[in-house]
Symmetry: C2
Subunit: 484 residues, 2 copies
Amino acid sequence: MSDNNLINLLRRRLPAHCLLFHPEDLRPYECDALSAYRRLPLVVVIPETLDQVRATLQSCSELRVPVVARGAGTGLSGGALPLTDGVLLSLARFNRILDIDVDNRTARVEPGVTNLSISKVAEPFGLYYAPDPSSQIACSIGGNVAENAGGVHCLKYGLTVHNIQKLEILTIEGEPLTIGSEALDSPGYDLLALLTGSEGLLGVITEVTVRLLAKPETAQVVLAAFDSVESAAAAVTAVIAAGIIPAGLELLDNPAIRAVEKFVHTGYPEEAAAILLCELDGTREEVAAQIERTRTVFAQAGASDLRVSRNEAERQRFWAGRKAAFPAMGRLSPDYYCMDGTIPRRHLAKVLAEIGVLSAAYGLPVCNVFHAGDGNLHPLILYDANQPGELERTEELGGRILELCVAVGGTITGEHGVGLEKINQMCVQFNGDELAQFHAVKQAFDPHGLLNPGKAIPTLQRCAEFGALHVHHGHLPHPELERF
Amino acid sequence: MSDNNLINLLRRRLPAHCLLFHPEDLRPYECDALSAYRRLPLVVVIPETLDQVRATLQSCSELRVPVVARGAGTGLSGGALPLTDGVLLSLARFNRILDIDVDNRTARVEPGVTNLSISKVAEPFGLYYAPDPSSQIACSIGGNVAENAGGVHCLKYGLTVHNIQKLEILTIEGEPLTIGSEALDSPGYDLLALLTGSEGLLGVITEVTVRLLAKPETAQVVLAAFDSVESAAAAVTAVIAAGIIPAGLELLDNPAIRAVEKFVHTGYPEEAAAILLCELDGTREEVAAQIERTRTVFAQAGASDLRVSRNEAERQRFWAGRKAAFPAMGRLSPDYYCMDGTIPRRHLAKVLAEIGVLSAAYGLPVCNVFHAGDGNLHPLILYDANQPGELERTEELGGRILELCVAVGGTITGEHGVGLEKINQMCVQFNGDELAQFHAVKQAFDPHGLLNPGKAIPTLQRCAEFGALHVHHGHLPHPELERF
């Protein structure tokens, strides 16, 4: 197919104002939030109606042109990075909230609606949408579903997959499918979970029905300081083992605390090796009871400083430092790279220590600010892209950290997805049979491989080039990690 | 292939005591708990090792013989019904608990382990496995995963899919795949959810890692009586809308209450149109606070009688009637047929009224005992299989009830699965494109269709013969339901 064929076909089928071809118009779509990778697409399509989305997909199918769907472009793993010979399909104009069903506690929304706007519209009814990625003011619900997005409150309320009930999608051939239902279970294979987190490789989401929760009556935060990362990590395990399910349980290590305090002065104890922020929510009675139990557990785990937020303003202040952590890093270093791996909680202390060793070996500082309760690490590697070779060294260190997560029985992503960023580490996570099974599932939805090719699931050839062997019952590319 | 080829091959590859051929040995495997359907398999294989399971699957693959996996045989939808020309693969000897990981709060078990035995082994550590199907003393965890089993406590703690973390499976070719991980998220497509509830059509489960929860400190039950089913149904919605998440919220209608009281004399109010049993669990303080709020909500919803269990013995007594409900029906009627559909909660009253209308039209009594909080109905149709035509009329009424669930935006199964029982109603639930997508997924795992063929997902031809049209934006086979 020649590029002109596609453009001519799209011009016949869609209004002119829905199509962008000129390089200056394409520029805003060259990357998502993984901005180290940039590419201009052949054409950007910004449809306004479902028929136009269908026409776009049918055109791509007929001419075998790849298509990358894009929500708000806030993804951190390069999932919406365009292809130079493909269509970038923006769902930005699908931004209407279609229905709030208060009795059934669901909202039916278009995919371009932002995460936070759902909670805003639900607020008068005392309801909200629980998953809260850091980008929630900007990120779209369609992108949240594609990446199975998480957030601070996912420890108690689950990831995106646990908070949606129904999807309308279009297949690459433009066929509409209803996946899931308004009721709490659905017969047949669980395609709702399969589509969630499939990173745009199986279909294009055109409507999402999310679950809404009742807003908790109150919330309080316990801030606890520890003299060692080990004791903070042990306190995380102890809280969960005590049967307490915090709404959020976050850890900041000393470099992160210092960076934050320089930036926003929230009053975190700057000498602490680590602090934990533990939020409890529910009715006043429940929260009061749980706060007491959490204090006791933290004290027994050796907390040297224990504070409880006394009112909503103080709770917000306790969180302000955590929320400012990423921008704060931007002041310490010209660039930073945010990793995303998940490990069994019992290995927290060991893995943080090993990240310290790797950080020293690579000569690149690493700060840790992360969802400790879920074992979801977000090491931030500080670097300077203007120093020759430093980006490459940073990416290599990032890869080593992810392989360390796999070595202790963890995974290479908690909530950011694989995208282009972690495609090599997928070869470490899975063996050839498992990757072949993923490709067979892809084939069942998209036989010609036109939806977001090159992302999420590596080809076996790519893994052979990367030189990785899967690690369960096998060997790591870096044998020194085998002691885990 | 001739039957002898398979039997000869299995004899060469497996020890003699793992194979059953004689009709009298096959008889115990002729059905599962949907005993209206019975068939003798060609051969029963009861392997003791993973290699033997693999050899069985490889033999079936090579000779293109269908294979049906079976756990404890307690399934209610006929998922483990054998095929006369196929292998019945029993996982009964895989009954070891391999590991309890207290820090990480998981248990690694073989598929033949019973649901309840996991909680028993975890008990000394203060942990338990939450999903609790009525058959939990007998049903196996492998079967629970295959059917995505539920139970009374799934309202708060989720279905099986929300309580497992990792599976080891064998494909039909005998290849081992690790699905999910020890960490809380996994990259790639969500095959863990896809396999869960896939009713034995995608792979054979050989190991399950389940999540364990801390046992709640205490639990109490509120028993509330209502003068109308409508007000009980409204009370269900009101409790959920108040942000209370009960550990269980069950409804019994008057015919069910009377049947239970005749049988076990638990002291349920026999004149009530419906009762609700609402369990709250957690710490003493939390439960005390929630009990008060639940009492208030029920009182406002018009409860005529409100009791709260004062101790563990009384809590058990409140539940005893609910637990005896199914055996109690066995005293009222020679046979009963337990349906399983799920609807959006707001339609509870309307659907229960319509079931009453259908019951009268068919001249078959229906009792309702069900998981009201999830909108998961279990209408029990009372009939006598010895009366000519009565089983057929019962099945027709059951089908109509399921189609009613679909018509209000619900689904044809909450926790029992589709199996053979509801295969026609799948044609009502899904359209041709959606069924074709299910078949494509099946093809990705089992290209020759050897795993449990004829169950769960109907062929398009079967749907054409059944004469059903899908109902979203379409027409129901029974047009009078269109008013919903």
